[in-house]
Structures are given as structure tokens and as C-alpha cells.
């Protein structure tokens, strides 16, 4: 164990860790609303919305994420769009992640009894309000645990950005290894840092399962949710 080498390379490793956190956060923040609208579009009665959303989701889930990243990083410049490595990695990961998240969110929406929507329509409640007041309060507690499971997979997936020249945690660990020839120290540090992020997400998951799901579950079951 060479702690002196760890100390020497700690600033770059920490930088890589911050980039991994930033990348994960940006990818989740951008792909969640996209995935939400994709999930709504896949449930739509309009074929013009349903079909493109279905194709998007099924095509991008069928491809290796790395291939999508290569498209963003290597093929976009062919069309005159030059992105920085971080932007290309973000774009590629958002495209892939939104397709996977859309399926998780759709499963949550589909789990709500369709009678609820018919009842809202019959009562003359507009689409968006019934979505906000009736549908989502019931769908969110169902969709939240699989959403966070997917978020953990997405965080792990950001390691792929190291293959398109982003200096994330994996890239910095590999660089430190190739300079120092000390693999164990840096692999262990990288693994521990990833485990810390994912342990936090897993803790959030069990917290939401116990608290938010229960609270929303009760609100949704009572008449108060519909009254307003």
C-alpha cells in the first residue's frame, strides 16, 4: 500500500469524482423530464405521438450505450456539430438513459387503475390537471423504487464516458495506474467512491420506499386527493 502515491494523485482522483457526480447529475436532470414525456407519449391515443416514442425507446434500449456515445462523440462532427467530450458524453448518456427511464416511468403510470382516468374524464377534469392531481400522486410512489434502481445503473454507466475522453473517476484512476504501475490502490479508491454514490442512492431508495410511498399512498387512497 503506497499511501504517498495515493496522496499525490488524490487531487486528480477527487476531480474525476466530481466530474462523475456532475455528469450523473446532469444526465439524470435532463433525461428525467424527457423520459416522462416519452412515457406519456407511449400511452397517448394519438399514433403520431405513440409511434415515434415507441421507436425511440426500443431502438436506444437495444444498442450498447457505448455505441450511442460513439455516435455523439465521433459521428456528430461529421454533420458539423462539434461538441466537447463532456457535452458529447452527456448527450449520448441522456439519449440512452431517457429511453430506459421512460420504460420505468411508463410501468408506474400503467400500474394506476385506468378507471381513475375514465372517472376524471367523466367528471370533466382537464388532462393536465387529472395527471397532476390524480395520476401522478398514485404513479410516483410506484415508479420511485425502480427509478432509483435505474439511477444507480446510470451512475455506473457514466464510467463509459472515460472511453470518449472525459476525465471522470474511472479515467483518472486508469491514468494514475498507467503512470505509477500501482493498480490496487487506485482501483480500490475508485471502487469505494462509486460504492459511496450508490450507497447514498440505495439509502434514498429505502427512505422513499418507507416514507414517501406510505404518505402518498395514503393521500391517494383518501378522497382528499380528488377534492381539490
Amino acid at each position: 500500500m503506497r499511501t504517498d502515491l495515493l496522496a499525490e494523485y488524490w487531487p486528480t482522483i477527487w476531480n474525476g469524482f466530481l466530474i462523475t457526480v456532475l455528469l450523473s447529475f446532469v444526465v439524470l436532470a435532463v433525461s428525467t423530464p424527457i423520459a416522462f414525456f416519452l412515457a406519456l407519449a407511449r400511452q397517448s391515443q394519438l399514433a403520431v405521438l405513440r409511434w415515434p416514442a415507441g421507436i425511440y425507446v426500443n431502438v436506444f434500449r437495444a444498442l450498447p450505450v457505448l455505441i450511442i456515445l460513439y455516435f455523439a462523440f465521433y459521428a456528430l462532427p461529421q454533420f458539423g456539430m462539434s461538441l466537447t467530450a463532456f457535452q458529447a458524453a452527456t448527450a449520448g448518456l441522456v439519449i440512452a438513459s431517457s429511453a430506459y427511464l421512460a420504460e420505468d416511468i411508463r410501468a408506474g403510470l400503467a400500474a394506476v387503475d385506468p378507471g381513475q382516468r375514465h372517472a376524471a374524464t367523466a367528471l370533466g377534469i382537464p388532462y393536465w390537471r387529472s395527471l397532476r392531481r390524480i395520476y401522478l400522486p398514485q404513479a410516483i410512489p410506484i415508479a420511485l423504487p425502480p427509478y432509483i434502481t435505474r439511477a444507480i445503473i446510470i451512475v455506473k454507466g457514466t464510467a463509459l464516458a472515460s472511453l470518449v475522453a472525459v476525465n471522470d473517476l474511472t479515467a483518472e484512476a486508469v491514468r494514475a495506474i498507467s503512470i505509477t504501475y500501482r493498480p490496487y490502490e487506485f482501483l480500490a479508491v475508485a471502487a469505494i467512491l462509486y460504492l459511496v454514490i450508490n450507497a447514498l442512492l440505495a439509502a434514498l431508495q429505502s427512505f422513499t420506499e418507507r416514507h414517501i410511498a406510505l404518505r402518498y399512498g395514503r393521500v391517494a387512497a383518501g378522497p382528499a386527493a380528488v377534492a381539490q
Binding site: V59, L66, I67, Y70, A75, P183, L187, A191, Y194
Partner: protein, 223 residues
């Protein structure tokens, strides 16, 4: 921007070769990880803490860090320990390590779907534990396990793209080598994507048949 798909007529042998490596890698990982996963599933619910606890730790760690990092751990970590492997076996080893635990969770769910009475009945009839597993328990888990097994197999297929990072000449790596030389990334990547889609399609067809079989067998197997 002018696309020139004529380039594919020149580079297809390289892509075909890469596709074959991708298929080999997928099959090798499935063949190695599946029996290990059964052992992992049995061990995770074992009554012996010395077996159960280390497996729980391995499962949490290997499923909590990026698959790419597992590849690097094998690729960079083994040579200083005196073990030098070629890229292909080291990729198989790394992917087997984490897939055994992902598949292990699938099989665990399947094992838990078998009523515990079955174990006790087999014990009462004097069957050896190994025979009980092979003859009584595993056949009953198949209908529950097959659909998620195949959907994880598509994850293996897509995951083989990571092996490009440790210099395995599979499809993604072949595509990259080709477009770096020809400066036609879009055309080459589209063809690579189509090949992945076809391979995925084969697995999805298997899943479709598997699910139909499971729906038939799953109901008839109850006594």
C-alpha cells in the same frame, strides 16, 4: 454533409469478424456465468453464514461498481499478481464475475418461488441435496427464471461492447478501428448498430418463445 455507405462494401469483413468475436464473447460469458450463478443463488440463501455473508458482500460490491471498472480490475489487477491473461479471457473472467451475481439474483428469485415443502418432501424421501436441486428444484424454477434470464442475456450482449476498453477485437472495437481510418464514423456505426439490433432480435425471439413455453409449463407444473 454527404454520406457514403459505399464504404461498407470495403470494410464489411472487419465488421463481420468483430461480430463473430462479440457472439463468442457473449456465449463464453453465458456458459461460464450461468452455472456459477446457480451456486451463488444457492449460497446467498444458505444456512451457513461463512458462505452467505461473503457472497452478500461480493454481490453488493460487484453490482455497485461500474462493469467497466470490474474489467479494469481484472485487466490491471491480475498481472502484478503474476497472472497474465490475453484480452479475451480477461474480458470473459471480468464479465463472468459480475454477471454471476446479476444472474444469481434472477435465480434466487426463481428458487424462492419454489415452495419450501418441496425441499422437505425430497429430504423425507431420502434424496441427496445435490439430486434434490438438479431433479426437483431447478426444473420448477425454469418457468419463473427463463424470461428474466434472457433479458439479462441481452445485457451481456450489449455489455460486450465494454471489452473494447481492454483491447478485445469485438464489434464496437472493430467499428472504431475502421472509422478511425476511413473517417466515416456515422456510416460504420449505423451498420454496427444494425448488427447489434439483429443479435438482440435473436435473443428477443428466444425470449418470446421462452415466455410462451413458461406460460404453458408454469401452470401445468403445479400439483
Amino acid at each position: 454533409m454527404n454520406l457514403d455507405f459505399g464504404i461498407i462494401a470495403v470494410v464489411w469483413p472487419a465488421l463481420l469478424k468483430g461480430s463473430l468475436v462479440t457472439v463468442q464473447l457473449t456465449l463464453a460469458v453465458l456458459i461460464c456465468a450461468t452455472p456459477l450463478a446457480v451456486l451463488v443463488a444457492l449460497g446467498r440463501d444458505s444456512k451457513i453464514p461463512a458462505l452467505r455473508l461473503p457472497l452478500a458482500v461480493f454481490s453488493a460490491v460487484l453490482r455497485g461498481i461500474p462493469p467497466l471498472l470490474v474489467l479494469f480490475i481484472v485487466f490491471f489487477g491480475l498481472p502484478p499478481a503474476g497472472i497474465t491473461l490475453d484480452p479475451f479471457p480477461s474480458a470473459v473472467l471480468a464479465m463472468t464475475c459480475y454477471m454471476a451475481f446479476y444472474f444469481g439474483e434472477v435465480f434466487r428469485g426463481g428458487l424462492q418461488s419454489v415452495p419450501p415443502d418441496q425441499w422437505r418432501a425430497a429430504e423425507a424421501l431420502g434424496l441427496k441435496p445435490s439430486r434434490t436441486v438438479v431433479r426437483i428444484i431447478l426444473p420448477q424454477t425454469l418457468p419463473a427464471v427463463l424470461p428474466p434470464y434472457i433479458s439479462h442475456a441481452t445485457e451481456v450482449l450489449k455489455g460486450t461492447a465494454l471489452a473494447t476498453a481492454v483491447a478485445v477485437p469485438e464489434l464496437t472495437s472493430a467499428a472504431r478501428q475502421v472509422f478511425v481510418v476511413t473517417f466515416r464514423p456515422f456510416e460504420v456505426l449505423i451498420v454496427a448498430a444494425l448488427i447489434y439490433a439483429v443479435l438482440d432480435g435473436i435473443l428477443l425471439t428466444l425470449q418470446y418463445w421462452g415466455e410462451r413455453w413458461a406460460a404453458r409449463t408454469g401452470t401445468s407444473i403445479r400439483f
